[in-house]
Subunit: 288 residues, 2 copies
């Protein structure tokens, strides 16, 4: 099996589903729908939906059962990017080399597009199976005890002295919990048992942290073309990062160790976890 | 039965449940949780949760089964107020006579508090019964084809020539759909049959429109003390309103007619709908 080609297939399925499920940009309110589609369909690694599909496949026979939660995850992730980019938050003008949503459509529309995508994620889950566990998983990962809470502490931490416990709190919540939810939601949609769910949870927690460390490293080492935005912005903003706290090489080594641990956690799933093994590498090798 | 006292009891149950379900303001991230509680617990008519409880009672034996959806509705409603008040949106400094969330906690925290309350609404519904229909009802009412879509068109309409069809679109979506969802969610939680659901849906659509017309009237006729914010702000902002479109007295007459129609729609529910009959009056008699 050619894993790289297979991952590309999964990503293509996600792209097709995103385009199909999202309201058309001719449907009223057209500008809002255009803004939602602009941010959602403007590229991206589709890491969370692909993790969701691959997790479903690792516990069951097929990944199609996880397509609705996969699309919901990307809607939710995209809303966090739109709101994080706002002037009152990170104030970013570029995302994936393109103007951010508020630069393109104005601040009010960007706030509303984020709100609508967040809401739409739960509309999709309400139609998925098993709806209640999936919605609960996403809501717990995304709320004030998850992604939103991590972003709140991240904003509050800017300019503060480096603090390992705080940095862990921020990244566990801001990035880790949604990646964890992606794997667990795929597993739930795929009909997981407890042992499989535990293995996928450990895997997800490790790659989530590796992913964030890699992100901090890339902010220092990439070119603007690779990153799709300004390089060194974390340092300029005095953001607390793993690189600032531990140094560049130790951060890289930590990410590599986490990837190996994540892959080891998949042992109980056997050969069906091959896609997830490959995805673990992908989380740190990406350039944008 | 003293209906006024009973409505006060329902509102008190909602207050207690809101306080109990919301994360404590000592839980990290504490500022975010304080902002959520500030906006959610700072008063308000609790119209949507009370409609939800009364609708459950009108189709079943008890309203307690609808407490989770009732709290979810108020969380969702409060998030829309927080985001609508933002500088990029309506730019309001006061809400219920108190500083708006962004005035008190800053813009970033207000955006996040709204996001967290929206997410929390679906977390609550994931624990409610029947979870999937309830979540679908709320998501469809709240998203780009509901509340968020109405707000998007409302912002785009400011300063435009009055247009009855556009005004109806805005209010149906921005205000009407959540009131409709409140009644339908209460009915679903209460174990409604199709006929009861249809009656409650008609009732809700009529009072939703009456509510918005009353809001436009109050913006002209209230004192700042009654309204908790500046009076005449709609006119100053050249907002399209029912008063601007039809005049003050015809708007009042229209609201009264809608209330009568809403009450008539409850006939199939019999005496158990007495609370809803009283609530219909309440939607237009309120002063804030």
């Amino acid at each position: 099996m050619d894993l790289t080609a297979y991952l590309a297939t999964l990503r293509q399925e996600v792209e097709t589903a995103l385009d199909r499920y999202l309201p058309s940009d001719t449907e009223r309110p057209a500008t809002l729908h255009r803004a939602m589609r602009y941010s959602l369909l403007g590229g991206g690694k589709r890491l969370r939906p692909v993790l969701c599909l691959a997790s479903a496949e690792a516990v069951g026979d097929a990944h199609a059962v996880a397509l609705l939660p996969a699309v919901a995850l990307e809607c939710l992730h995209t809303y966090t990017l739109i709101h994080d980019d706002l002037p009152a938050m990170d104030n970013d003008d570029l995302r994936r080399g393109q103007p951010t949503c508020h630069k393109k459509f104005g601040e009010a529309t960007a706030i509303l597009a984020g709100d609508a995508l967040l809401t739409f994620a739960f509309e999709l889950l309400a139609r998925a199976t098993p709806a209640a566990p999936l919605a609960r998983e996403l809501a717990e990962a995304a709320g004030s005890r998850g992604v939103v809470g991590g972003q709140a502490e991240d904003l509050a931490a800017e300019g503060r002295a480096p603090d390992a416990a705080l940095l862990d709190f921020i990244h566990t919540n801001k990035t880790g919990k949604l990646i964890r939810a992606a794997c667990r939601m795929g597993a739930l949609a795929g009909g997981t048992n407890e042992k499989q769910l535990a293995a996928l949870t450990t895997y997800a927690e490790k790659i989530g942290l590796a992913f964030q460390i890699a992100d901090d490293v890339l902010n220092v080492t990439s070119t603007p073309e690779q990153l799709g935005k300004a390089v060194g912005s974390d340092a300029a903003r005095k953001k607390m990062t793993y690189v600032a706290l531990y140094g560049l090489e130790p951060a890289r080594a930590k990410a590599a160790a986490l990837i190996a641990e994540a892959q080891a956690a998949l042992a109980p799933l056997g050969a069906r976890a091959a896609v997830l093994v490959a995805l673990a590498e992908f989380t740190v090798r990406r350039t944008s």
